[in-house]
């Protein structure tokens, strides 16, 4: 009762102080960067800030959800889900393709793992458990985005200890927040996911930068992904929707030119500004060398980036860069490297029951590098931790792996989580190997198209900086490509043949046994040939006298 009245007073106060719609603000930005291999990376970011809002305290879930939700810019459909399940922080990414860190560098948004990845921070203490709410939010988002997020069930859910720190802040409600993380590598992102995504934007795709989001071009790009991020900062709840794509102008134009423009990349222009955006900013990374022309003339250039504001400049509808010379593909390895380390991850072994997981990490820097290594495996791949071997430049160095934590998989129920810290001396390459066993699945556990194999989740590497006072700073996450594992797969076209064949064999055995048990054996006496007539006559006599005879009755 006290809580309710306090709440009412707060509501009253807040309605008094929040008079104008400065409560919500929307910003959109697009950054375009030409990459070394001639491709162009575009990254859209749409941020809506709900000022002074705080996530819902799960302890209030017990009370009737009577407090009303009133939004102008914030998407209502998303707000309902966040409130109903009391989510503090949420990240959802749907990506397709392999992000090539070595030639593209770090992406603007870190979450580039292939497939669907969902993680949420939730506090406990409500009437429904965290796992129930996790299930609810999965299903709600699956419905909202038309993605098969419902399959991110407990067989895929993990709670890694360190790798996913909250991006924003977590309110202190007296109970600790918990992380739930799940990913599904074989989820494909497509138009049906983009359409509901665009509906969450205040201007949809009808004005502003979102006009450029042409599904034909986005899903034609070499790499594409969409993401939804909800986080809380003391100034309010922020929703960030982002679209990233890496398109190839060389392929689109069919010429040896690296030139790009909105029109060539998206087949669209920004024709109308979004009326409610605080700003619509486009930034273009200027090439570091060579002759080029950026058009139109940038409004300002800061630190090698050209900036445009489409909101307040009504002439700019198309932006592009031109090079007078043809593009030449860099054939040799380029220096300096864009990322401090590069990773290769493989599953070795040709049999369907055993294999070896092998990871090669190369440190491109002079300094020693510490990496947080996270491996989440569905239970179908079982680790043999005692077979872990770490080599640095072919010298066994078991001291380079530390802080191992391992959550055992539970067959048919829980995946394995393996987290550890790898130390890489400068300019060295570290090899990590571990034997694995592949499970033999039940008939019904095979996915559709079972012969294709199972997609294994990407491993995640995060550079780690440890300060002398014990605090840890995590760098940007690096996702490896996913792996494909071939498990022993039955021939699924066979069940009826097998049933019928088995039945025939069983019926045959049954018939034989049954016959053997019930057959009547008799001895047939064969008389010499000359006595045949006599014996026939004798038989007739015997018949006449109704005396049963051996030769007459036959075996049953």
């Amino acid at each position: 009762m006290l809580r309710t009245s306090l709440f009412l007073i707060l509501l009253l106060l807040s309605s008094v102080f929040c008079l104008e719609d400065i409560k919500e603000e929307f910003k959109e930005s697009l950054s375009i960067k030409s990459l070394r291999d001639g491709r162009v990376a575009s990254s859209f970011s749409f941020k809506t800030l709900l000022r002074d809002a705080i996530p819902r305290d799960p302890q209030t879930l017990a009370f009737d959800d009577d407090d009303s939700q009133h939004y102008t810019l914030f998407p209502l459909t998303l707000g309902q889900i966040l409130r109903q399940y009391a989510i503090t922080e949420l990240h959802l990414t749907l990506n397709a393709g392999k992000w090539d860190y070595d030639s593209w560098g770090y992406p603007d948004e870190t979450g580039v793992g292939v497939g669907a990845e969902l993680r949420a921070w939730m506090a406990g203490g409500s009437i429904s458990s965290i796992d129930d709410r996790w299930q609810g939010v999965r299903n709600a988002l699956a419905g909202l985005f038309c993605a098969s997020l419902g399959s991110l069930n407990e067989q895929r859910t993990t709670s890694p200890r360190l790798s996913f720190p909250p991006e924003g802040a977590l309110p202190d409600w007296g109970l600790p927040h918990e992380l739930r993380h799940a990913s599904h590598a074989s989820e494909h992102v497509c138009t049906e996911n983009l359409t509901p995504f665009l509906k969450l934007l205040p201007c949809k795709s009808l004005s502003g930068l979102a006009m450029l989001l042409n599904p034909h071009r986005i899903f034609d790009a070499d790499w594409h992904g969409i993401g939804l991020h909800v986080l809380w900062r003391p100034e309010g709840v922020e929703v960030r929707l982002n679209v990233q794509l890496v398109s190839d102008p060389l392929r689109i134009s069919g010429q040896k030119k690296q030139d790009w423009s909105f029109h060539s990349l998206f087949d669209r222009r920004v024709e109308k500004a979004c009326p409610v955006a605080k700003f619509s900013r486009v930034s273009v990374d200027l090439p570091s060398s060579g002759l080029y022309r950026v058009y139109p003339e940038p409004m300002e250039v800061i630190e090698g980036k050209a900036y445009y504001d489409l909101k307040n400049n009504h002439e700019v509808w198309d932006i592009g860069t031109m090079w007078p010379a043809d593009f030449e593909y860099p054939l040799s390895k380029l220096n300096p490297t864009l990322v401090p380390f590069s990773v290769r991850r493989n599953l070795l072994g040709s049999t369907q029951d055993r294999g070896q997981l092998s990871i090669v990490v190369t440190n491109n820097q002079q300094d020693t590098l510490q990496l947080l290594y996270l491996e989440t495996m569905p239970w179908i791949i079982q680790f043999y931790l005692h077979t872990i071997r770490v080599h640095s430049d072919d010298v066994p160095r078991d001291d380079l792996i530390s802080n191992m934590s391992y959550v055992l998989p539970v067959p048919h129920a829980r995946p394995a989580t393996f987290e550890s810290v790898l130390t890489l001396p400068g300019r060295s390459s570290l090899t990590f190997t571990m034997d694995v066993a592949k499970a033999f699945l039940r008939y019904t556990e095979h996915p559709p198209d079972a012969q294709r194999g199972w997609d294994l989740l990407p491993a995640i590497f995060t550079p780690l900086t440890e300060f002398p006072n014990g605090s840890i700073n995590l760098g940007r996450r690096v996702y490896t490509p996913s792996l494909l594992v071939d498990l022993a797969t039955p021939d699924f076209s066979m069940p009826y043949n097998v049933i019928i064949f088995t039945c025939s064999v069983v019926a045959f055995i049954f018939g034989s046994v049954f016959n053997a048990l019930t057959r009547k054996f008799i001895i047939v006496r064969l008389e010499p040939q000359k006595q045949t007539e006599n014996s026939v006559g004798k038989n007739i006599d015997a018949n006449k006298s109704n005396k049963p005879d051996a030769s007459e009755s036959e075996a049953h």
Partner: protein, 511 residues
């Protein structure tokens, strides 16, 4: 005779004796007979019995809600016509009319809530008392219009919870003018809360609102040559909601949503008017979509500022339309215009309206749960492969129990709220049972499928079994016949010796 020395005669082995062989065959058949019920039980689906006959009996019953009216002796001449009129208009009311008492004392009324008719200067109601001019003769029709109105067909079906979703739609925010906000909370507090708080005993309401900046129509509105106005014909109104582009639905819960849409036409398409059937612009700018929600078109004045925040005075007319639409959608009966209501507080709803709505909703729920229960039982009896598990059984039973309690207590003094609660529980449980996902499980695995799996095994195993049994029976019958013949022959040998000797003469031997 060498063979005899080397082999034992198989007939001397114990398992080659006829009766052992017959035991073996018989034991197979006994086993099959015993296994059949087990097989039947393990392969059949769980179908718990439903109280079918009880459901049919219950569905036949008619709810009678007691209604106590105390009529002042001034109107004693009109009592018969009053009773008849109410019975005809609302057969579910069980009218009791008291007269000759002092009706101004509410304690004389037995059933809560009771109504009183008192002589008054003019026609007005106060609390549950009707003051009626003593010379007027039309008490019956006044009462019918107050207590026995028909449920509006536009009203949404009863649900314990509703979501009220208010949406401000800018048709095209980038076309010159955009409304970036509205004083929604104040407007709701002013216009919507009086209704929702008065009806809080019937429903729980969740109110939410959003603003959209692009909401294109799915059709081109008709353009008028003069004055540059645009019109919406009746056909246009039926396709006005563009659900492909407008994000109106709330996905996160199963509660029914009542939508209230404030549509602001694009600056280039203003004013947008609703056309009457004769093609002239109608005076109203609001329309209602039955059981779905209401729409108000807001035409802003011509020279607009670029961005605009709608204030409470600007929202007043739209929200009074919304509040009328809301009361229609919730099925709230209107007071007849001739009756004035003097309320103690500022609430616009009289207890007469709320009571009538409670009765109507109770009746609606009872009828709907009757229908649902009957359909469930019929469906289950019609489709043999439909599983019925414990939950469905419990839900059907719970719904029946709630209905039985409602019918049992309707005669006693329970309040209308409690009656509604019983009926709502019956309705919820019955529809849960009807839509139980477990009932669909076996529809996709038909019986034919099962036989297709079992026949290859059982048919081929049964053939030797059947053949052995038939042959053994034939052999047994033959043996019996031969044994009888042998006995007869023996007797004949003894008694008919003379006949046999006659055979030599060629005379037929009779046996």
């Amino acid at each position: 005779m060498d063979a005899e020395s080397r082999f034992r005669d198989p007939a001397t082995l114990f398992f080659q004796s006829d009766h052992v062989r017959r035991y073996i065959i018989a034991s197979y058949w006994v086993l099959i007979a015993l296994a059949l019920p087990l097989w039947w039980k393990t392969t059949s689906i769980e179908r718990l019995p439903l109280p079918t006959s009880e459901v049919y009996t219950q569905a036949q019953r008619k709810l009678e809600i007691p209604l106590e009216i105390c009529v002042d002796s001034t109107f004693s001449s009109q009592i018969v016509s009053l009773r008849d009129a109410i019975r005809v208009a609302a057969s579910y009311l069980d009218v009791h009319i008291n007269t000759g008492q002092d009706c101004s004392m509410s304690s004389t009324l037995l059933v809560f809530p009771g109504y009183a008719v008192l002589p008054g200067e003019k026609l007005y109601i106060e609390d549950r008392k009707l003051y009626y001019p003593s010379h007027a003769e039309n008490l019956a029709s006044t009462f019918t219009s107050l207590l026995a109105t028909k449920m509006d067909r536009r009203a949404a079906q009863y649900s314990p919870r509703y979501r009220l979703s208010f949406t401000l739609l800018n048709e095209d925010g980038s076309a010159g003018q955009v409304i970036t906000g509205w004083d929604i909370q104040q407007a709701i507090a002013r216009h919507i809360y009086p209704i929702t708080s008065a009806l809080g005993i019937l429903h729980n309401f969740t109110i939410e609102s959003q603003v959209q900046f692009h909401a294109p129509l799915a059709f081109e509105p008709q353009s008028f040559s003069n004055e540059g106005t645009f019109g919406l014909t009746a056909e246009n109104l039926t396709v006005f909601i563009n659900s492909a582009e407008w994000v109106l639905s709330s996905s996160s819960s199963n509660d029914p949503v009542l939508h209230f849409v404030l549509f602001v036409p694009s600056a280039t398409r203003r004013p947008l008017e609703i056309l009457s059937p004769d093609g002239t612009p109608s005076s109203s700018s609001a329309f209602l979509i039955p059981q779905w929600g209401g729409i108000v078109i807001l035409n802003l004045p011509a020279p607009p500022p670029n961005t605009l925040h709608l204030t409470l005075p600007e929202l007043r007319s739209s929200f009074s339309s919304f509040s009328r639409q809301l009361s229609t959608l919730l099925g709230l009966p209107r007071l007849p215009p001739s009756i004035s209501y003097s309320s103690p507080s500022k609430t616009a709803l009289s207890p007469w309206q709320v009571d009538t709505l409670l009765r109507q909703r109770t009746r609606e729920n009872v009828m709907r749960s009757h229908d649902t229960l009957r359909s469930t039982v019929t469906l289950v009896s019609r489709i043999d492969s439909m599983p019925v598990d414990e939950q469905v059984q419990a839900q059907v039973q719970g719904s029946l129990k709630a209905l039985n309690e409602l019918f049992a207590y309707a005669r006693n003094n329970i309040t209308l709220n409690e009656m509604l609660a019983y009926s709502a529980r019956a309705l919820t449980l019955s529809s849960k049972a009807f839509f139980h996902p477990g009932m669909l499980a076996m529809l996709y695995f038909p019986t034919e499928h099962k036989y297709a799996v079992y026949t290859p095994l059982f048919a081929s195993a049964m053939i030797p079994l059947l053949a052995a049994a038939l042959r053994e029976i034939a052999a047994w019958r033959k043996e019996r016949r031969e044994a009888r013949d042998a006995r007869v022959a023996e007797n004949a040998n003894v008694t008919n010796y003379d006949l046999k000797t006659d055979a030599a003469t060629g005379a037929p031997v009779a046996r």
